[in-house]
């Protein structure tokens, strides 16, 4: 059975049926070895061409001195590892990289904590309040990123923004005219609120969906043993949902780390380039300042850091897939 398609198993069946078909079936039998390859060919070819080739191209660009002059004259100037030594030797790169990692960690911790708490809350609600909360979550989840960004700019607008109004009326009068995008920390605050607001629904709703698959008996047994809510979570819910927690954390790390639209659209990495994360930094260096080779090198370094951050989970998944297949 090893390298054959399962069509073989179904083959004897038609022979019992009508008689007229054997020749075409034999012809089909001969091609059938190639059928799976034919079926995956479009997907494989498209992925290799548009993703694989781009990755290679990106790597090649990162070893080139490619600026507007070379671009216009169509010359290729290899400069070895110059881009890398320059990037790794600059304090800018390291502060952006460190900022990216801290930014990702802070967002993912907030998303996972809030998402899990809300997911567990959903499981405890009555059907009406659950529907209400689900509706709110779905609205936030469905909101397109760019539209959400403009809305958050409006919520946090210096004049007539509703956030400043609320802070002012809560007694924090110095916030009445606060310019959120004037400082590094406050800009990051707005970006973080935006990302967390948009990402929590995915975690919460899927966690809730996953808890409904936990057998009730496990909780009954736990409460017979006198387990309180926290103990029930650590001894039943968490172990049962461990794969879910791992997978979701991993996805969120990837999504937050490479998030470009929110960071760029809120303030284009400003003020003074202080909110540039790695993808934005690569874009500004590469496209904005037209150091295309340098930008490519930064993007390769970004991918390396992303791989390092997710290596643990990546190894788990690949191993599991190998075992299953």
């Amino acid at each position: 059975m090893s390298a054959q398609i399962e069509e073989v198993a179904a083959d004897p069946a038609p022979r019992i049926g009508k008689g007229g078909a054997p020749p075409p079936r034999d012809a089909k039998g001969r091609v059938s070895q190639g059928v799976p390859y034919l079926l995956i060919l479009p997907a494989a070819a498209a992925t290799v061409l548009l993703l694989g080739w781009t990755l290679v191209k990106n790597g090649m660009l990162s070893f080139q001195n490619l600026n507007p002059r070379q671009l216009i004259q169509h010359v290729t100037e290899w400069n070895g590892v110059d881009n890398y030594t320059e990037a790794l030797g600059s304090s800018d790169f390291w502060s952006v990289a460190g900022r990216s990692v801290v930014f990702t960690a802070a967002n993912v911790v907030l998303i996972m904590t809030a998402g899990c708490l809300i997911g567990l809350l959903l499981a405890r609600l009555g059907s009406k309040t659950r529907l209400l909360l689900l509706l709110g979550l779905v609205l936030a989840w469905a909101m397109p990123v760019v539209a959400a960004t403009t809305v958050f700019q409006w919520l946090f607008a210096q004049r007539f923004g509703v956030v400043n109004y609320l802070l002012d009326s809560l007694g924090w009068h110095s916030m009445a005219d606060y310019n959120w995008t004037s400082g590094q920390f406050s800009t990051f605050f707005v970006i973080t609120v935006l990302i967390v607001w948009q990402s929590v629904p995915f975690v919460a709703i899927n966690l809730y969906a996953a808890t409904t698959t936990i057998p009730k008996e496990l909780y009954e047994a736990a409460s017979l043993d006198g387990a309180g809510p926290w103990k029930q979570f650590t001894s039943v819910t968490f172990p049962f949902l461990k794969p879910f927690f791992l997978a979701t954390t991993f996805l969120e790390v990837i999504w937050v780390f490479k998030s470009f639209t929110q960071v760029f659209a809120i303030n284009e990495g400003g003020p003074d380039r202080l909110t540039e994360t790695l993808p934005v930094y690569a874009f500004v260096e590469g496209m904005g300042n037209q150091h295309f080779g340098m930008g490519a090198a930064i993007s390769i370094l970004t991918i390396v850091i992303l791989l390092a951050l997710t290596a643990y989970y990546l190894r788990l998944v690949l191993k599991q897939e190998e075992d299953e297949l």
């Binding site: 390298a3 398609i5 069509e7 179904a10 038609p14 019992i16 049926g17 059928v35 799976p36 390859y37 079926l39 995956i40 479009p42 997907a43 498209a46 992925t47 061409l49 548009l50 993703l51 080739w53 781009t54 990106n58 660009l61 309040t129 209400l132 909360l133 709110g136 779905v138 936030a140 469905a142 909101m143 397109p144 760019v146 539209a147 959400a148 403009t150 809305v151 409006w154 919520l155 607008a157 509703v162 109004y165 607001w197 969906a209 990837i254 470009f260 639209t261 790695l278 993808p279 690569a282 874009f283 590469g286 496209m287 993007s299 991918i303 992303l306 998944v317 690949l318 897939e321 190998e322």
Partner: protein, 276 residues
């Protein structure tokens, strides 16, 4: 006594508060879009559009090139999603139903591709598309978007195809169907929820895509709505009514689609995750 009442009521109270927190930005977008200007620029916010107006919407719709960009966005999204569905359906069928050498590697490649940092590689895309002299064209966007949503579509549909009992297909073939006929008549209808979940995901991804079109399509006539929305915000400055109307116009198709299909999306995502 007060305490125990609070104790019993807290999940419900928390739910209402959280609903408000999550729904408010969406509400505020629509509310502002309908408000008269004097209510938008007032020191005390007006919580409801008391005298609703459509002037902001007409301003947004009349803005330069709006309808061209709607056309561009729809073309790019629908073509890319349709292409990726067809390509993924073929591949997912092979992967779920047939054993062949290289099957494992193909799945692993799809998993890696799903995590690909597209946003990070924009410079390479710029150089490739520029060298092909196809900047400011919709074709490269369609090609890139198709491959962007392809891995998720393949991996999710694989779960759905695998969930269809093989016996159904076999009995259809006993009844004289060819394998292709069995697929079209028996399996395809059962895949409808999976196709909906994956196309919803694809639609949202492509409709929203921003970094790629930002660098590849500088010519306003070739851009898509996300870019229009950000430049609209810059052009119209502090005209929040118009900006929120524009955002509403952009968000509404997704909001409607998502609210209708969210059950399937959740089921699709988790079943994809469970069945791997």
């Amino acid at each position: 006594m007060k305490r125990s009442l609070l104790g019993r009521a807290w999940p419900g109270t928390a739910a209402v508060v959280l609903f408000a927190v999550f729904a408010f930005p969406v509400y505020w977008m629509f509310a502002t879009a309908f408000k008269a200007n004097k209510d938008i620029v007032s020191d005390t916010p007006t919580w409801f559009p008391t005298s609703p107006t459509f002037e902001h919407f007409s301003k947004a719709v009349d803005a330069d090139g709006f309808w061209t960009l709607v056309g561009n966005s729809l073309t790019v999204t629908l073509v890319a999603v349709a292409l990726s569905l067809v390509i993924a359906l073929l591949a997912s069928f092979a992967v779920a139903r047939m054993r062949f050498k290289g099957r494992k590697s193909f799945i692993l490649v799809m998993m890696m591709a799903q995590m690909a940092p597209w946003e990070v590689m924009v410079i390479a895309y710029y150089m490739i598309v520029r060298d092909a002299e196809m900047l400011n064209s919709l074709l490269p966007l369609i090609a890139i978007y198709t491959v962007m949503v392809l891995p998720f579509t393949v991996l999710t549909l694989r779960g759905y195809v695998a969930a269809v009992p093989k016996e159904l297909e076999e009995s259809a073939m006993v009844d004289g169907c060819t394998r292709t006929q069995a697929f079209i008549k028996v399996i395809f209808p059962l895949l409808a929820p999976g196709l909906m979940a994956t196309s919803l995901f694809g639609f949202i991804t492509v409709w929203n895509e921003f970094p790629m079109v930002l660098i590849l399509n500088k010519d306003p006539a070739s851009q898509t709505l996300p870019l229009w929305l950000t430049s609209f915000r810059t052009t119209f400055g502090d005209d929040w009514g118009a900006t929120m109307a524009a955002s509403s116009l952009f968000a509404v198709p997704i909001l409607i689609l998502f609210v209708i299909l969210q059950r399937k999306a959740v089921g699709g995502l988790t079943s994809g995750a469970v069945k791997g």
